[in-house]
C-alpha cells in the first residue's frame, strides 16, 4: 500500500512537472501536420540558430571537461590553501541566475568594461559575438564534470595510483592508464550534463549575444524570438528539435554506459 502511494506521488509529480509541458510542446508543434513543422525548422534563420548552438556547445563542453577533470584532481589529490573556496566557487553557477552572469560579462567586456576597451582597441570583439556566448555558456555549465568526478576520485583513493608509480609509471601514465579509466564514467556523465546544459542555455547568452537574428541567435533565443513574433508552430517545432537533441545526448550516454555489474 505504501509502495503504491510512493509510486503514485513520484510518477504524478513527474507527469505534472516534466511530461505534461513536454508533450504539449510535441503536440503543438505537429498540430498542423509534419509539413509546416519541418519547413519551420529548415528556414535559414532556424538552421543558423541550431548550427550556432552546436558550435558553442562543441567548444564549451571540451573546455569544461578538461578544466573539470583538472579541477577535481586539484580538489581531491592536491589539497592547497583556498581549496574550500574553489570548491564553493565551482557550485556558484548553479546558484547564480544566468542573467546575472550575462550582465557581469557585459560589464567586463562592454565598451567601457575592464577588458572591453583593451580588447576593442586590438580589434577583438567579444560582446554580441561568439566569444561572449561561449564564455557565458562555459560559465553556466562549469559545475557538472567537477561534481561528477570529485566523489569518484575520493572513492577510488590513491592506492592504485601509488602502485602504478612504484611500477614505473610517470604522472601522465598514471593518469592515462589508472586514474582516467577509473573515472571515465563519471567524466562521461559530467559531459552529458554539461552538453545538455549548454544546449539549453538561455539567460546569460540572451544578455551578451545581442540577439541578432541570423547572426548571434542561438536555438533557445530563436525559440523565444519566434514565440514573441506569434509564430507558434515555428517556436514549438524548434523546441522539439532542442528536446530531441537533449534526448539523443542522454540516450547515447545510456548506450555507452557499461551494463551494471560487469566490473
Amino acid at each position: 500500500m505504501r509502495k503504491l502511494a510512493l509510486r503514485t506521488v513520484a510518477l504524478g509529480y513527474l507527469a505534472l512537472i516534466l511530461l505534461g509541458p513536454l508533450s504539449i510542446v510535441f503536440w503543438r508543434a505537429f498540430e498542423k501536420g509534419f509539413g509546416p513543422a519541418w519547413s519551420a525548422v529548415t528556414t535559414p534563420a532556424a538552421m543558423h540558430a541550431f548550427q550556432l548552438t552546436l558550435e558553442i556547445t562543441a567548444i564549451a563542453v571540451p573546455a569544461n571537461t578538461i578544466f573539470g577533470v583538472l579541477c577535481a584532481l586539484l580538489i581531491v589529490r592536491h589539497p592547497f590553501p583556498g581549496k574550500g573556496l574553489l570548491n564553493a566557487f565551482v557550485d556558484l553557477p548553479l546558484a547564480l541566475s544566468p542573467v546575472v552572469v550575462g550582465f557581469a560579462l557585459f560589464l567586463l567586456y562592454g565598451r567601457t568594461g575592464w577588458f572591453g576597451s583593451w580588447l576593442s582597441s586590438h580589434g577583438i570583439r567579444v560582446l554580441f559575438a561568439m566569444p561572449s556566448m561561449i564564455l557565458a555558456t562555459a560559465f553556466v555549465s562549469i559545475p557538472f564534470v567537477v561534481r561528477e568526478v570529485v566523489p569518484v576520485l575520493r572513492e577510488i583513493g590513491t592506492d592504485q595510483e601509488q602502485a602504478a608509480e612504484t611500477l614505473g609509471a610517470s604522472q601522465w601514465q598514471v593518469f592515462r592508464r589508472v586514474t582516467f579509466p577509473a573515472i571515465r564514467w563519471a567524466v562521461a556523465y559530467g559531459v552529458v550534463l554539461t552538453t545538455a546544459r549548454s544546449l539549453g542555455e538561455y539567460g546569460a547568452v540572451s544578455v551578451v549575444s545581442g540577439r541578432l537574428a541570423g547572426q548571434t541567435e542561438t536555438a533557445t533565443l530563436y525559440v523565444s524570438d519566434r514565440y514573441e513574433n506569434f509564430d507558434i508552430v515555428g517556436a514549438y517545432a524548434a523546441s522539439v528539435v532542442l528536446a530531441l537533441m537533449a534526448i539523443v545526448v542522454l540516450l547515447t550516454m545510456n548506450l555507452l554506459r557499461p551494463k551494471e555489474g560487469v566490473h
Partner: protein, 273 residues
C-alpha cells in the same frame, strides 16, 4: 619511505648501496604490495601483471611470456582473464605480488600483505610466500603486526616501537637476547618479577621456600591441552602467569589457593628500566 611515497625528515635511503633518498618512486626499482591490494580494477589479472612491463615498452611477445611465467609462479593461470573483483582476497594479493615481481625489483616491500585476510588463508599464504621467496630470492621487507608471522618468515627482524627501532636481529637473537623489555614481551610473552623479566615457561614453581624465590598464591589454573597456564598472585604485589606442560602440573599437584614459591633463574635485567 623506501618506495619514495613518503619523504623522510632526516636520514638517507640506500638501495643496493646507491643513495635513493631523492629518487622518484618510479625510478627506485621497488616492488610494493599494499595491504588492500591496490588492484587495477579496470584491468584483468593479466593486464595488472603486465602493467609495469607495458610501461617499460617491452616487446609484446616478451610481456606475454613473462606474464605467463608469473601467472604460473603465483598459481593464477586459470584466472588470467578475470577482473580483480572476481577474485578472492588471497588471489588478489597473489596477483599484486606477481605485478610487483614483474618488473624485477631490487627490493620487494610487503606492507601487511595478509592483514585483510582471515587467519586460515593467512597461514596458507605465509607458507606459500616462504617457498616463493626461496625461488625468487629478492630482498624483501615485510611489515606485520603479527609476531608469529615475523618470526616464521624473516631472516632479520627490526622491532619498531613508537616510531623507533628497538632492536634488529635474527628471530633467534631477538628471542634469546632481547635488548629491551618491549622486544622481550613482543617476540614472545614475558612477565615482570620485581626488576627482572622472565619468559613464562622459564618460571619454576616450587612447593617449598627457596633462596631468591617469590612467594605467590595460585589464583586460577587453565588447562589448554598440552600446556597449562597458572595465574599467580604475588605476595609482594602484582600478578603473573606461568606456563608449563599439563604433565608437569600433574606432578606438582597444584590446586587453586595453594601457596608456591616462584624461581626465576633465567630472568633478565634491563639497564635503565
Amino acid at each position: 619511505m623506501i618506495a619514495g611515497l613518503e619523504r623522510p625528515d632526516a636520514g638517507r635511503v640506500t638501495i643496493s648501496g646507491e643513495d635513493a633518498t631523492g629518487l622518484a618512486p618510479r625510478k627506485r626499482g621497488v616492488g610494493f604490495v599494499f595491504q588492500h591490494y591496490a588492484a587495477f580494477k579496470h584491468m584483468t589479472v593479466r593486464g595488472n601483471i603486465a602493467f609495469g612491463l607495458k610501461i617499460r615498452k617491452r616487446p609484446r611477445a616478451e610481456v606475454r611470456a613473462r606474464v605467463d611465467e608469473l601467472l604460473a609462479l603465483v598459481q593464477l593461470q586459470p584466472f588470467a582473464d578475470r577482473y580483480p573483483s572476481q577474485l578472492s582476497g588471497g588471489q588478489r594479493q597473489r596477483m599484486a605480488l606477481a605485478r610487483a615481481l614483474a618488473v624485477e625489483p631490487k627490493v620487494l616491500l610487503l606492507d601487511e600483505p595478509f592483514g585483510a585476510l582471515d587467519t586460515r588463508v593467512r597461514g596458507e599464504l605465509r607458507e606459500w610466500l616462504h617457498r616463493l621467496h626461496d625461488e625468487v630470492r629478492v630482498t624483501t621487507v615485510f611489515v606485520t603486526h603479527d609476531q608469529e608471522e615475523a618470526m616464521a618468515l624473516a631472516d632479520q627482524i627490526a622491532v619498531l616501537h613508537e616510531g623507533r627501532i628497538e632492536q634488529v636481529g635474527s628471530p633467534r637473537e631477538l628471542y634469546d637476547q632481547p635488548k629491551t623489555p618491549f622486544v622481550m614481551s613482543f617476540v614472545g610473552a614475558a612477565a615482570q618479577l620485581g626488576d627482572r623479566w622472565v619468559r613464562q615457561h622459564d618460571l619454576d614453581l616450587r612447593l617449598e621456600p627457596a633462596a631468591g624465590a617469590f612467594e605467590a598464591r595460585v589464583e586460577r589454573i587453565a588447562r589448554l591441552g598440552f600446556e597449562a597456564r597458572i595465574e599467580l598472585q604475588l605476595a609482594d604485589s602484582g600478578t603473573v602467569w606461568a606456563q608449563m606442560t599439563c604433565a608437569e602440573l600433574d606432578r606438582l599437584e597444584l590446586e587453586r589457593g595453594a601457596t608456591v614459591w616462584v624461581m626465576a633463574d633465567r630472568a633478565r635485567v634491563f639497564a635503565g628500566d
